[in-house]
């Protein structure tokens, strides 16, 4: 329909690639030109060699952190989506849970992470629980928002046809809520990355957060940057995975509407 207004895909992909190359070139040029101390700001080339040099640590540590992120995010989805739906459908649940929910978000996650270490040790659980705690709130809120967005007149119409609550939920509320839910999932995914690193910063003996702290302690700035590069790459890939799933799950007309509404913001 709108193919005429769309640029060729190949050309569209060119813009970000060119932008990244320009930034890297400026960075490399500035470091060489002003002879900046490597402990202050390593050049992209030095970061690349640190990346290759530390790969023996970076690969397994990435795996650890990735598992923490995914388990935390997964818990956020499994608990957050039903909770968001429940808040819409049950007034008592909303009244009971809402204050607790808000309070749980007001607790600074950095402050609660040490408590998790005391409870669950320095292993995986204390990390993914921080990731979960930080990421499930936007999922709950966006789900509740989306479920509540169904037109009440549409609900009346379906009821007049003889539809039950389950039918109204599966055919109306859930599809109508999908764009909002996925908006929440994208925020939650980036927060889950933050949560895993916060958890590792507090107490850990593996993972990218641990790697960053260790390299920082050694004043090995190229290694710190290498760790950041890997972490950023993981975050970007996970974000796009959510987008891929969104494309598969959310029907096209709803996606278009969501895109239009974000375009006007």
């Amino acid at each position: 329909m709108n193919g005429a207004s769309r640029r060729p895909a190949a050309l569209g992909a060119l813009y970000p690639v060119v932008a990244v190359i320009v930034v890297l070139a400026l960075w490399q040029g500035a470091v060489t030109l002003f002879d900046i101390n490597v402990a202050l700001l390593p050049a992209p080339g030095q970061v690349l060699s640190a990346l290759i040099g530390s790969r023996a640590a970076l690969v397994p540590y990435s795996e650890v952190t990735l598992v923490e992120i995914l388990v935390g995010f997964g818990l956020g989805v499994v608990i957050g989506v039903p909770l968001g739906a429940l808040i819409v459908f049950s007034d008592p649940v909303r009244r009971a849970v809402y204050p607790l929910l808000v309070a749980s978000q007001m607790v600074p996650k950095v402050a609660i992470a040490p408590v998790f270490v005391v409870w669950f040790g320095t292993g995986l659980p204390s990390k993914f629980l921080v990731a979960f705690l930080i990421s499930f709130f936007p999922i709950v809120i966006s789900t509740a928002l989306g479920m509540g967005s169904a037109d009440p007149d549409m609900v009346r119409l379906l009821r007049s046809m003889g539809a039950g609550r389950l039918f109204v939920f599966t055919r109306l509320r859930l599809p109508a809520a999908l764009p909002s839910i996925f908006a929440g999932l994208k925020v939650a995914m980036s927060l889950a990355v933050v949560g895993a690193i916060v958890g590792e910063f507090v107490a850990a003996n593996s993972g990218l957060g641990y790697f960053l702290l260790f390299a920082n302690g050694q004043v090995d700035t190229p290694a710190v940057f290498a760790g950041l590069v890997v972490l950023t790459a993981i975050g970007v890939v996970l974000y796009f995975l959510v987008e891929v799933v969104e494309r598969l799950v959310v029907p096209a007309p709803l996606r278009r509407r969501a895109e239009e509404s974000t375009a006007t913001m």
């Binding site: 549409m154 009346r156 009821r159 007049s160 046809m161 003889g162 007309p253």
Partner: protein
């Protein structure tokens, strides 16, 4: 031949008996939306209810559909009292209420899904209905690709898919432009002439009511009650030109006079 008394149809499908509605507000303050009203709609009759905004005519329709309980009185359809949503009917609202993520055909078919109808048969019937309203070739389109008039046609097809004996329409053309409205009225009459469903048609347009209906019930402002019920004896099938005939203007003039007497319409002060 000015019909002053409600003429009772010999074989009523819908009987509204002393139905009133009082909404209780948040602070216990109650608002009377409908005064006790009586109404009978005959089998195969096209009855229009015309009244000013907020007179409770939509509330009346919701009560007939069983979506809103009456505060007093009762509604009988086919002799049986209505308790809870009544489903042997089709409803068209002012909003088309299409699901944006479903194609035109699938929007019509949701009626069949709710009712667990035979999907193969339903699909054939849906296509036939869409053809009838001039939407053949649009079955696979999404609602966002249609005009307002086309969307409302889809909503009408959806309301008719299960071939209901009763059709409730709540200002279905109010959001459309004048020319589209005229076309929709003509199309509605041609669909109706096939099956002669019993129709309760709510509107605030006097000419629309007179053009479409066998009888027009005129409502007063809130709390709503019928001030008069007019028999429209105009010949069917009706063409748009009927609106320029003397019979038509006599009926619409009578309704205007009723509105003026109620203070709903006033002449400009000179």
């Amino acid at each position: 031949m000015t019909a002053a008394q409600p003429l009772l149809p010999p074989d009523p499908l819908v009987e509204v008996r002393g139905v009133s509605k009082v909404f209780v507000g948040r602070r216990g303050a109650s608002v009377e939306a409908l005064r006790p009203i009586d109404l009978e709609i005959g089998r195969g009759e096209f009855l229009a209810v015309v009244g000013p905004s907020g007179c409770g005519k939509s509330t009346l329709l919701s009560i007939v559909a069983g979506l809103v309980p009456a505060s007093a009185g009762e509604v009988l359809i086919d002799g049986a009292p209505i308790e809870g949503p009544y489903s042997r009917l089709g409803i068209v609202f002012q909003k088309d209420l299409l699901l944006e993520w479903r194609s035109v055909l699938d929007n019509v078919l949701i009626q069949a899904e709710v009712r667990r109808m035979d999907m193969v048969e339903a699909r054939v019937r849906a296509r036939r209905l869409l053809h009838l309203v001039g939407l053949e070739g649009f079955e696979r389109n999404y609602p966002s690709e249609l005009s307002g008039g086309m969307r409302q046609r889809v909503a009408i097809c959806r309301a008719l898919l299960h071939d209901p004996p009763l059709l409730l329409m709540d200002e279905p053309f109010a959001a459309l432009d004048a020319i589209t409205r005229d076309q929709m009225c003509l199309d509605l009459l041609s669909i109706w002439s096939e099956r002669r469903q019993t129709v309760l048609f709510i509107t605030h347009s006097i000419p629309e009511a007179v053009f479409l209906a066998d009888r027009v019930a005129v409502m007063s402002p809130r709390p709503g009650a019928f001030t008069d019920v007019l028999e429209v004896g105009l010949e069917r099938p009706r063409r748009l030109a009927v609106r320029e005939t003397e019979g038509f203007t006599r009926h619409s003039g009578r309704i205007r006079e009723l509105f003026e007497a109620q203070g709903i319409l006033r002449e400009a002060r000179t």
